[in-house]
Symmetry: C2
């Protein structure tokens, strides 16, 4: 059944090198440091916010809570992340999921640094806003502060037409660098798909694609910092959105995209809600994250029909009109449906 042919093709030494018995391989595989980073997300007053660490001193740059993974202290990545976040911010994380591991050289490097290579493992954590105490409030910032073009709650953001799309088009017309055949879709098509121009539809989940396109085009500050040719050779313009340290804005982009995707097929939206809530509060929270494409009555039908919530029996007055029933998350859905979530249709804006 299994021939020996391929055993010859796969030199045994390469496996030995990878997992030697008792010998060191520092030579072959220089050790790297692993940084654990958390995008901790909440929704505060209908605004999606992320916990950042502000560093005063030289240029102000926000970063995500993070710390190195220490195999001696941490049994798992997630455990290490939880203990770092707890130590740095006092928060005990609830829902946590791994996003992506970034190993790029260059992205991370600060000019002049001689630091060991750092690999980032990004995590998404969702938390209930009621847990945020006053002292911490200041370090929570709207995620649209870093991604203004993602905020469609008041319709298509003006910054797209005023700044982003024109400059992207300009970039698309510039001569391509040599040897970039790994991009089958032409630049204009990428712009069209990412930013919903020329009849393309806005896909709220493509947050990372948009950020990477802007990075490639030199239109975010990080591109200049990292010495991207595109950013150095043209357009000394103000670049949209606040930058972050290292590759943290990229991790945040991944976090936003994942959150937007995930609430549609997993009931993670309730991680962001207090125990009791009205259906309209739930809708507002979903809209804060996705954008406002929701029809109120249909949203109710959807959420109730899916068995995601159950009435508590209580009412909330002071809504500005008729009192609203309070609901709570109905945990039993997890046992009933394979993919419960707020199944809003994608890409309808």
């Amino acid at each position: 059944m299994v021939s020996d042919a391929n055993v010859r093709r796969i030199p045994r030494e390469s496996l030995e090198r990878h997992h030697p018995k008792g010998t060191s391989m520092r030579q072959e595989a220089p050790a790297v440091e692993i940084g654990l980073n958390a995008a901790i997300v909440a929704v505060l007053d209908n605004e999606p916010v992320v916990l950042v660490v502000r560093e005063d001193g030289n240029g102000v740059q926000d970063s995500l809570p993070s710390g190195p993974f220490s195999p001696l202290k941490h049994r798992t990545f997630e455990g290490g992340l939880r203990s770092w976040v707890s130590e740095q911010t006092g928060i005990d994380l609830g829902y946590v999921e791994q996003l992506y591991s970034f190993g790029d050289r260059g992205r991370h490097a600060q000019p002049g640094d001689e630091m060991p290579h750092v690999v980032s493992v990004g995590y998404l954590a969702l938390t209930d806003a009621s847990q945020i105490d006053e002292a911490q409030r200041g370090s929570w910032r709207s995620w649209y502060h870093y991604f203004p073009w993602e905020d469609w709650r008041k319709g298509r953001p003006a910054i797209l037409e005023s700044e982003i799309v024109p400059r992207l088009r300009e970039w698309a017309e510039r001569p391509q660098l040599s040897g970039d055949p790994a991009r089958p879709v032409a630049r204009h098509d990428r712009i069209r798909m990412c930013f919903a121009v020329d009849g393309g539809a806005w896909d709220e989940e493509k947050v990372l694609d948009r950020y990477e396109l802007l990075y490639e085009a030199g239109l975010v500050e990080e591109a200049r910092r990292d010495g991207r040719e595109a950013a150095l050779s043209w357009s000394p313009v103000p670049r949209p959105g606040a930058m972050m340290r290292f590759d943290h804005r990229r991790i945040l982009a991944t976090a936003i995209g994942r959150t937007r995707a995930k609430i549609k097929y997993r009931p993670v939206i309730f991680e962001l809600m207090p125990p009791d809530f009205t259906l309209f509060e739930l809708q507002r929270t979903v809209e804060a994250i996705l954008g406002p494409h929701l029809h109120k009555q249909n949203f109710r039908r959807l959420v109730e029909g899916a068995g995601l919530v159950e009435p508590t029996g209580e009412m909330k007055t002071r809504t500005g009109g008729r009192p609203a029933k309070l609901y709570r998350f109905r945990k039993e859905v997890l046992l009933e449906r394979p993919a419960p979530g707020v199944r809003v249709k994608p890409g309808r804006v």
Copy 2:
């Protein structure tokens, strides 16, 4: 807007320690080695197969092609992976996506080893079976060889009732280990959701959940190898599915689950197809991966209606009946729809 309160809460040293300027921090953050692993998947004669490296000698164990990440040689993880795979197997990978990074201690450890801590970054690669040359054939194995309970192509696999579910139920009744409150869903509920008993529905995407449940219950060989209490303290039974080295079966489980999920909303199925194919061949390939819940006529309607394919104009004779039109992937869908894929409904078996 941003208070200084939290700056005090986040000790600056912890950040310095993480990213010092010019100093070494080996002390605080022991360096680890990063292993890149690829689950390279193809569909060969309607069988989903994965490329494995067989190691003869002592106990036969398959592993995935892998190698250490070397920041000096590799600009990115993905680049490193491609060069390792190319070197070990001669294959130039096409479609590649990152799956997950595993940092668990213990899983990886071989008893008695004193090796440095190894972190695994798992990748999924999809490739066209026609690229497999004869010499390599032997090292491609059905992924159901490692996960027999995932093969629903002939209906619900008998091994579920004959072995897996009874033993899981037995495990569920055993006294829980102290302090396992991180499991809100009781064991029986997890069994129900994972393995579709007691009215639960089979969700073909939950491959990893099932594997991890079996691991926890000591019902896969790896659990014993890693010294899991559950596996050591009971049930010296034959354990279903072939084991793999290190945590490779876990990575493969992730790969299968991701493949099953992804073909529904991205046209990655065509990575597994030759350039021209009939609609029924396409359906067979989808079924090889998902299980056979597809109605032939509706599948045609779905695939053609979504604009995923276009006729080449050629016909394929020798189908055993009426000749079939040949189709090719219609790449333009990528520019038309935000989430093109074979939108088979999840969880209908």
